[in-house]
């Protein structure tokens, strides 16, 4: 039996948000009400609520206004002012409009909403996801349909041949765009073959990686493309529910998605018995509450279930035991959004879009930091760093050289400006102990200090470590303290480099999830490629770019 419209598979997070919106905070009485309604012990609700940045318990201090102090926004060429006295928020995905401010429940870039709500930069290529975005308003159902929207879903339902569609996706070689690069068809095939009649499609729209802002324009401008893709996924794997886990920092996307779902359901394009067929697919949006770890798929699932969003041990993988223990496909916004295009144009076409051997399709690259034109760029997978930074992102501010750049936001590692010929795909960066990840690059010009930047990265991971496993929980703090020592506090200097190496190794090999495993990567890149600059800091107590303070009392 299929569920009726309005049945919410993940009600607890939404209940908490509704209560907080109504009362401005979460009181003991309201949490007890929610606990009772969902048959949960009150302590477990308390446990989950205290984890997030934006749930506010009665008595918590008011976060009236705060500013992003993330690694990108702390670069000397960007921050523009001393941020020491201001409260901080974790990266809200507005690295193309620094420095973002959180006030009155809204996140605002300094360029204003209009410019944030903009298309990826024109790269002169046709585009895959944003192919039609300059010609019509994709968030309006009629316009989306006019350009062939929901056509792929309808053909799939008419053909009743999910195996064939899965075959096309397999042949296309589409790898997951969220960071891990796992073959999509393999994942969907596993969910399709998993035992159980109840299955879920979950869209991971919780990009929280500093420098990563690629999901934002897809959610804002092409919501129906995502919804269509999720319904296609549901048909292929045999799921009737799709949940979009949306990061707290994208409230506008929540409105847009909810309106899009409503419009499509009203038109019977989604929901109960789609176009009077036997196929029903229900969609809902669950909003996170500020936690980078929730981008990790098993943390995300725990979060959706109203539990403490710690990562789960794998196996079992979500494909067999995901949301509520049911087979679940968790996919990134970008991965899903290309699916209708592949079904429309075929696997061969998709393969032909990429550059170089084995690089299939397009990729959305986010570039931020010391560049003239920060933002998103839809380009063939396998473009070089040089082309992306120098041609598309307009090069370094002031015309200088690229001193360093990171990959995968700040999780994929850091390389020096000597690596501009690196191709941005899923294979090549691994030869240098780095990985493409989300496809976000943070660029440092010659006026930026890699040591100070690495310290900012360490602060970020300390703030966002979930606190479950020892290597990450304790290691992230010690790494930040070591970076404090190198960049200012002289009481923390001895054994610095040995300790960075030792703790970094343990974090990389023994942490429970990708967060802890990749947290030391920028620091490791610093040690590997910037030994001279590092040595200046450690032995001469001088910052060549004059960014680090070297005030013995300044440990922040």
């Amino acid at each position: 039996m299929t569920a009726k419209k309005g049945v919410e598979p993940t009600p607890i997070l939404n209940a908490l948000h509704s209560m907080q919106e109504k009362e401005g905070k979460l009181t003991r009485a309201s949490l007890e009400e929610i606990a009772k309604a969902h048959n949960m012990p009150i302590a477990n609700i308390f446990d989950a609520v205290t984890f997030y940045h934006y749930f506010k318990l009665d008595g918590d201090s008011d976060k009236k206004s705060a500013i992003c102090k993330g690694p990108v926004c702390s670069l000397p060429g960007i921050k523009g002012q001393d941020l020491a006295d201001m409260r901080s928020i974790s990266c809200p995905g507005l690295c193309d409009s620094p420095v973002p401010i959180f006030a009155d429940g809204e996140f605002r870039g300094t360029k204003g909403v209009d410019q944030v709500f903009e298309l990826p930069h024109d790269t002169g290529t046709k585009g895959v996801i944003f192919r039609d975005s300059r010609k019509r308003k994709g968030w309006i159902l009629d316009e989306y349909i006019k350009f062939g929207g929901y056509g792929q879903l309808q053909s799939l339902i008419n053909d009743q041949n999910p195996e064939k569609a899965l075959g096309v996706l397999k042949e296309s070689g589409l790898l997951g765009r969220g960071g891990a690069g796992f073959p999509l068809a393999l994942k969907w095939g596993a969910v399709r073959n998993a035992e159980g009649s109840e299955k879920y499609i979950v869209c991971n729209a919780d990009e929280g990686e500093p420098g990563t802002l690629k999901d934002r324009p897809m959610l804002h401008l092409e919501p129906h493309l995502l919804l269509e893709a999720m319904a296609i996924a549901g048909f292929i794997v045999g799921a009737s529910h799709g949940i979009i886990y949306l990061r707290y920092e994208y409230p506008l996307a929540q409105n847009i998605l909810n309106k899009a779902i409503e419009a499509a359901e009203d038109a019977n394009i989604l929901g109960n018995n789609i176009n009077n067929t036997d196929y029903s697919f229900y969609l809902s949006v669950s909003r996170g509450s500020g936690a980078y770890i929730c981008g990790e798929e098993t943390s995300l699932l725990n979060s959706l279930e109203g539990k403490r969003p710690w990562p789960r041990e794998r196996p079992p993988f979500p494909t067999t035991s995901g949301l509520w223990g049911k087979p679940t496909a968790v996919n990134n916004v970008e991965t899903l959004s290309v699916v209708p295009r592949i079904l429309e144009n075929g696997a061969k076409w998709f393969q032909s879009v990429g550059l170089g051997e084995g690089n299939f399709g397009s990729k959305l690259y986010s570039v931020s930091g010391d560049v003239n034109r920060p933002g998103n760029f839809e380009l063939p997978l396998g473009v070089t760093v040089r082309e992306l930074i120098l041609n598309h992102a307009g090069g370094v501010v002031g015309g200088g050289k690229v001193k360093a750049f990171t990959l995968g936001g700040i999780s994929g590692g850091m390389l020096s400006g000597d690596f501009l010929d690196l191709t941005l795909d899923f294979k090549k960066p691994q030869e240098y102990d780095t990985f493409l990840g989300s496809g976000a690059l943070v660029v440092l010009g010659e006026d930026s200090c890699v040591v100070d930047f690495a310290r900012s990265c360490a602060v970020f991971f300390e703030d966002e470590s979930c606190g479950k496993c020892y290597p990450c929980r304790i290691g992230a703090v010690r790494m930040r303290e070591l970076m404090d020592g190198i960049s200012g506090d002289s009481s923390l200097i001895p054994d610095t480099l040995d300790h960075i190496k030792e703790i970094g190794d343990v974090m990389t090999t023994a942490s429970a999830c990708g967060l802890g495993q990749s947290a030391p990567k920028v620091l490791q890149g610093m040690v590997k490629y910037f030994s001279e600059e590092l040595d200046f800091h450690i032995t001469k107590r001088v910052c060549p770019t004059n960014v680090c303070g070297f005030d013995a009392n300044n440990t922040s």
């Binding site: 041990e313 703030d463 606190g467 479950k468 929980r473 304790i474 010690r478 190794d505 343990v506 429970a512």
Partner: protein
Amino acid sequence: MLKEETLKVVINGQEVESSFGKTILECARDSGVDIPTLCFDSRVKATAACRLCSVNVKGRRLPVAACAQKMEPGMEITTDSSDLESMRKTILDLVVSENPTGECVRCEEIGPCELHTLTKRYGSKPGRFHGALSGEKSKDTNPFIFRDYSQCILCYRCTSVCGELEQAHAIVPAGRGFGSRIAAAFDSGLLDSSCTFCGQCIQTCPTGALMDRKMLGQAKASEVTKVKTVCPYCGTGCGLNLHVANNKVIGTTPDWDSPSGEGSLCVKGQFATDFVGHKDRLKTPLIRRNGVLTEATWDEAYDLIVEKFTQIKEESGPNAFTFWTSARATTESNYIMQKFARAVIGTNNVDNCSRT
């Protein structure tokens, strides 16, 4: 059938037979291979927080947590390579870096704690990594459970045991990252929570963060004799060890091998042994003479009971009696009581306090 359920794996070069469903840790320990752990309690689902049990599995890029990873046929597992051992040492150095240095009260008074047993084994000393400390002493004034979270290593055994095993859901992890803490809902004291004071959090704690408040300051661990016995409070018969120092019972720990409780106790068995040496404890029968309870011999007491029972039965009949038995009595004693009511007195008025 049996053949399908067993599987063969290789641990440190030795072929070992195990069964499906077991974890690497269980299989290793079954075959005498020691893998260190801090966050593991076999009674609850593995949290895999400490990562000390990480082992190498051939074909896997990174080590896996042996406590959470299920056995698969043909696995080749290494538990003791020098890389793994040095990783364990680093993790232990990190763990001790978050707590204040100094004497461990638990090691001193109750017996060596798991953390310090391991740090001794690995030669791990505080101070190699220095920096911020985590946790603080709780202000909770409950009479039973002493909570000093400056000694806590966030293994989350207490919260798993409280929620999953005892289903009390009194304490949970709260906050996140290095600021994670163990708390009751709204950071209240345990008396204001759903805590049943079963004491299992104390028993699973691998450090001196949770201790029996009443046992503290009573004796050195070396002065304590443990006497294995059965809890006298109810018919369940949970096994416990009385801790005796200077001929005085100072507290209790569970007998993990006891078949009836498997180590679980309730508040009475865990914390209420003070009556053994209490000054108000009855040592002889008391007979009320002229309105005052006075000490008597057992013969005097039984003579009086026989006299009065006979008199009542003759004057008012057997149904003037009703008999109540106690849940603290054994099944055999309860049986004898109803036999006495029915066969000797002749009434069916017999009941037991645990019936309602």
